[in-house]
């Protein structure tokens, strides 16, 4: 599934395979900060600026939840694609792990 784009506005929905803990939130925010586009992540009734790691952690997004990544700006398409990839990798079991045997729990 690819992003729905209209001019410089793109969005894509993903179902989280794991909870959005601190480290994946950090990875997302670092990646989002490199795009010119305004990027946001919506989980349930809450929306956070994807460039704010604290905002992303404050979403409290959990496994199985539908999350929408939206971007507006010249590089919106790349921003959404990049963040969806990170969300897919970072929240799945075995994703972005260094020391833990199981999924990232923080």
């Amino acid at each position: 599934m690819s992003a729905n784009c209209e001019q410089e506005n793109c969005e894509q929905v993903i179902t989280l395979a794991g909870d959005l803990h601190a480290r994946p939130a950090g990875t997302l925010a670092v990646a989002a900060g490199r795009f010119a586009a305004a990027v946001s992540v919506t989980a349930g009734s809450h929306t956070a600026d994807a460039k704010s790691v604290l905002g992303l952690m404050g979403l409290g997004a959990t496994s199985g939840q539908h999350v929408t990544v939206s971007a507006a700006g010249p590089d919106a398409r790349e921003a959404v694609a990049t963040l969806i990839t990170i969300l897919t990798q970072a929240t799945k079991v075995g994703g972005l792990l260094r020391n833990q045997a199981d999924r990232c729990t923080w």
Binding site: A22, A29, V30, G33
Partner: protein, 132 residues
């Protein structure tokens, strides 16, 4: 890109608190930012050390400036005293921010390539982000 990254100095009354916050911020931000923990007095007690802050500022500087986060108000006095004696004080910003959240937010913004003002602003915005 090999542009210089803003450095971070964490000034705490506790060496363990500074080191722990630095470790956490490094893990969350992916380990690309220089974060120096300047915690405790020179003889290992609770308190702050001008010498540790001074050293931290030098170690954290890589050409893009340094953002300093104090844990409690009195750490600010130590940092200000150090800055008064430095000629490069304009490349250092002291952020008025919650310590742990500010350290994490500042470091993530530095890792994304933010300049010194953006990094300090990210730390200060941490005050307004709800966690519940």
């Amino acid at each position: 890109m090999t542009a210089a990254i803003v450095g971070i100095v964490l000034v705490s009354h506790s060496a363990e608190l500074a080191a722990g916050a630095a470790h956490l911020a490094a893990q969350v931000s992916g380990g690309t930012v220089t974060i120096i923990a300047a915690g405790g007095t020179d003889d290992g007690d609770l308190g702050t050390s001008a010498a540790k802050v001074e050293r931290g500022l030098s170690e954290a500087e890589s050409g893009a400036g340094v953002v300093v986060l104090p844990d409690l108000g009195s750490a600010v006095l130590t940092v200000r005293a150090v800055l008064e004696d430095r000629s490069d004080a304009e490349s250092v910003l002291l952020a008025d921010a919650p310590f742990v959240e500010g350290a994490v937010a500042a470091t993530v913004t530095a890792a994304a390539g933010g300049d010194i003002k953006a990094v300090a602003a990210a730390a200060e915005e941490a005050r307004h982000v709800r966690k519940l």
